[in-house]
C-alpha cells in the first residue's frame, strides 16, 4: 500500500513538472513581443526596454523559467496586466465560484446516476430500463448551454422563481448566493448524470452476469443487498474513473455555462484573459486547472484500493 501511494505521488509530481514546462513554453510560443503588446504601439524603445528589464524578458528562456518557477513556488503568479491585481488571489477567487458549482453538481449527478444505473441494469431489457436509458441518452446529447437557457427561460422568466442574471458570494448573503447557483448546478448535474448513468448501468450489467452474484443469491441474500454489497462495490471502479475525468474537465472549463448564467468563474476569466492577452492570468489559470486535474486523478487513484483490494498489489 505504501509503495502504491509513493508511486502515485511520484507520478503526480512528474506530471505537474511537465505541466509547468508546457504552460510556460506555450505562452512564450504565442507570436509577438509581450512588452509591446502591453504598452501599445505608441511606446518608445526605451519604455519597452524598461518593461522588459522589469519583467526579466531580456533574460534567456531557461533563466526566465527558473525565475518563474521560483515565483510560483513562493505563491507569486505575477500581476494581471489588465487590472494590476495579483494573479493568485484573483484566480483562487474565481476558481472557488466554479468549484462550488461543479462539486455540488457532480455530487448530485452521482447520487442520481448510481442508483438509476444499478436499477436499470438490474431490470435489464425491461420497460423501466428502456426509460432510464432513453432519458440518460437524451440528457447527455443536449448541449449544456441550451439546457441552461431553457432553465433560465422556465424558472427565471416564466415562473420568476430564481434570478436570471448576476452572482452573489456565499460570504455576502448565503441564501441569495444559493438562489444564483441553483440553475447552473441543476443544468450541470442533469447533463453529467446522463453519462454516469450509462457507465454505471454498463458496469453493473457486467457484474450481474458473474457467478458471485449468483452465489450471493444462492445463499438467500436479498436482491437489495445483492445490489448494494456485491454489485455496487465491484461496478463502481469504471464509474469512479469517469467521475475523476469529468471533474477534471469541468473544473477547467465550464466557461460556456458561466457565460450563460453570467457567473464570475474561472472558465470565463480564462476566456476573457485570452482575449485581453493578459498572459500572467492565462498562465495562472492554465497552471491551476492542470494542477487540479492532476490532483483529482491522484485522489481517484488513491481511492481505487479502497474499493478494490487487488489494485494495491502493484
Amino acid at each position: 500500500m505504501a509503495a502504491y501511494l509513493l508511486k502515485r505521488l511520484g507520478m503526480s509530481a512528474i506530471t505537474l513538472s511537465l505541466v509547468a514546462v508546457t504552460v510556460f513554453v506555450l505562452i512564450r510560443l504565442v507570436p509577438g513581443d509581450a512588452a509591446s503588446l502591453m504598452l501599445g504601439e505608441s511606446a518608445t524603445e526605451a519604455q519597452l526596454e524598461i518593461l522588459r528589464q522589469r519583467w526579466g524578458l531580456d533574460q534567456p528562456l531557461p533563466i526566465q523559467f527558473l525565475y518563474w518557477v521560483g515565483d510560483v513556488l513562493r505563491g507569486d503568479l505575477g500581476t494581471s496586466t489588465r487590472t494590476g491585481q495579483a494573479v493568485l488571489p484573483l484566480i483562487l477567487d474565481r476558481f472557488q465560484v466554479s468549484a462550488v458549482i461543479v462539486l455540488v453538481a457532480m455530487s448530485l449527478a452521482v447520487l442520481i446516476a448510481i442508483p438509476a444505473g444499478l436499477f436499470a441494469a438490474w431490470r435489464q431489457n425491461s420497460l423501466s430500463d428502456f426509460l432510464v436509458v432513453t432519458l440518460a441518452t437524451l440528457l447527455l446529447s443536449v448541449p449544456s448551454f441550451w439546457l441552461g437557457l431553457l432553465m433560465l427561460l422556465l424558472f427565471g422568466l416564466k415562473l420568476g422563481w430564481l434570478p436570471v442574471l448576476g452572482y452573489v458570494g456565499f460570504n455576502e448573503d448565503f441564501l441569495r448566493a444559493i438562489s444564483f447557483i441553483v440553475l447552473p448546478v441543476a443544468t450541470l448535474a442533469l447533463i453529467e448524470a446522463g453519462v454516469l448513468i450509462r457507465m454505471a448501468r454498463a458496469s453493473a450489467i457486467e457484474i450481474l452476469r458473474l457467478e458471485y452474484v449468483a452465489h450471493a443469491r444462492a445463499k438467500g441474500v436479498s436482491e437489495w443487498k445483492v445490489l448494494a454489497k456485491h454489485v455496487l462495490p465491484n461496478a463502481f471502479g469504471p464509474t469512479l474513473t469517469l467521475i475523476g475525468l469529468l471533474l477534471g474537465n469541468l473544473l477547467g472549463g465550464i466557461a460556456v455555462l458561466e457565460t450563460v448564467f453570467t457567473l464570475p468563474g474561472i472558465g470565463r476569466l480564462l476566456v476573457d484573459s485570452i482575449y485581453a492577452r493578459d498572459y500572467p492570468v492565462v498562465q495562472g489559470c492554465l497552471l491551476l486547472t492542470a494542477s487540479v486535474f492532476v490532483m483529482i486523478n491522484l485522489v481517484v487513484d488513491l481511492l481505487y484500493p479502497v474499493f478494490d483490494p487487488r489494485v494495491a498489489r502493484v
Binding site: Q124, N125, L210, E211, Y212, A214, H215, A216, R217, A218, K219, G220, V221, S222, E223, K229, H230, P233, N234, F307, D308, P309, R310, R313, V314
Partner: protein, 541 residues
Amino acid sequence: MTQDMPLLRIENLEVSAPGGMKILHGIDYTLDRGTIGALVGESGSGKTMAARSIIKLLPPGLSITGGRIMLAGEDVAAASLRRLRQVRGPVAGMVFQEPMVTLNPVMTIGTQMAEAMRLHTSLTRDEIRQRSVEMLERVQLRDPRSVLTAYPHEFSGGMRQRILLASVMMLRPKLLIADEPTTALDTLSQREVLDLMLELARDFDTAVLLITHNLGLVDRYTEHTAVLREGRVVESGSTASIVRRPANAYTKELIAAASKGDLSPPPRSGANRQLLEARGLTVSYRNRATGKEFEAVSKLDISVGEGETVAVVGGSGSGKTTLGRAMLGLVARTAGTVEFLGKEIVDDSGKANREARLACQLIFQDPYSSLDPRQRVSRIVREPLRHVPVMSDAQKDERVREVLGEVGLANFGNRYPHQLSGGQRQRVAIARALVRRPRLVVADEPVSALDMTIQAQVLDLIRKLQSQHGFACLFISHDLTAVRRVAQRVVVMQAGRIVEEGPAGRVLDAPAHDYTRALVEASPSIDPQSKAASAETARPV
C-alpha cells in the same frame, strides 16, 4: 409424511425462453435424503438449467413454465421469492463451476462466509467467526484465521473452491447442488475437492446433486444418474447399471468418450531422427512484489522425434505450458539450448528462427479466444500461408480448401467463429496449425475446453491427421484419458522438473514416481475391465 418422501422430486419440469421456446421438456428426477446423484450431459443439454431451477436461479428471461419441484416437502417452483430466500442456503446450497469468479473480489473471505450465517442463524459475530474457522479447518486450509481476513485473489482455484465449499456447507444444507464444481481445476485438485465435498456431505447428512459432463466422476462418486440431452432425460437409474450396461445410444457414446482408450496410440511414423531437442532448458520469472526468482522450468532435457507424439503431463503450475512455449522460442529462456534439426533456436523473432518457425505450429487451449472473431474461417486458416512465397494465390486457396476438408469443415469457410460450436472452432484451430504442413505441432491442452464426446472426436482427428501427414506433436495436457489416446511417450512434470518419463503405456499403467501415481489415481476415467472394483472402493456408502 415428509419422512417417507424423497428430499427432492422433480416432476415434469419445463423451462422456457421468452419466445416460448422450451429449454427443458419435462424432466423427472428424484434424490433421496443423504444420497449422491448426478445429472450428466454435454453443453446445451439443460443440466445446469435443471439444477438452477431447484433454487429458481435461472438466467434472466428463462422461467419455469410447467411441472413441480418438491424440495423437503414443499413445491419450490411455486414459492415466492421471500420464501425462496429462506430455502436458498439452509435447505439447498449451491457450489458453482468457476472458482475464480464465484467469490466477490472486494470482500474478505470472512465477510462472505458470515453473510449467509448472519442471514439464516441468530449466532453472534464471534460464534460465526468460530464456526468459519472450524469449517476452513475441515476443508484443510492452513491458518484459517488469516484466511478470514484475506481477499479471494490471494488463493488458487482449488483453494477458492474449498473456501466456497466451506461457506456453503457451514449452513448444513439438506441438499448441495454442485454445478461442474471441479471442471476448472486440474486433476489433482479436482480429486481433493470432490473427496472433501463428499466427506462433508456424509458427515452432515447432506444429499449431493452433482452436475457434470464427466462420466468418470459420475462413476467414481455417485449412486444414481440421469443422462440429459437436449432438455430431456434419455436414461436414468443406478450409476453402476448405466455405466456398465447403458441402454441408450447417446449414453454409450458418452461412456466410450470417458473410457480409458483401449485404443493403443498410433504407431510412430517417420524416420528415427530428433526433430526438436532441449538441453538444460530453464525459464525463470521474477516476482515483482518480492523480487525473488522463480523457476517455472528448471534445467530440463526433453526431445521430440520425427513423427512422434510426446505428452507433457502435470498439474497446474507444473510448468508444462511454459515448457511448450519455450521450446518454440515464444518465451525467452534463462539458460539451456533448444535445437530444431540440430540448429539452435534463438530467442529472437529475426530470420534465424525462420525455418523452425515455419515448421512448428501451435494449437491453443481455448478455441473461444484463439480465433479472431472478425475473420471468416477461410481467412483464419489461410493466414499462416502469407509468408510462403512459392505458393500462388490459387494454390493457397486450394490448400485451405483441402485442410478444411481434412478437419471435416469443408463448407464452413465463409462462417465466422461465433457461428461455430466449440468443437468446430477447435477444428479450425487445428486446420490453421496444419495448413502449412508443419513437422511439429505443439498442442497446449487442445481439448480440455470441450465436451467429452467432442474431445474424443477431436483427439481422433489429430491421430488421423498425424498418420496421414506424419507430423510430430508435443501434447501438453493434465488429462490422462486424452494422453492415452494420442501419445507414444509421456513426460511427467512437477514444479518445473521432469519426475518421470517413458513409453506411454508403461508410465500410465505402472507409474514409478509418487506424483505420477497420484495423477493416475486422480484421473477420472472409466475402466471397463475392472468394473465393480473401482466403483466399490471409491463410492462412499
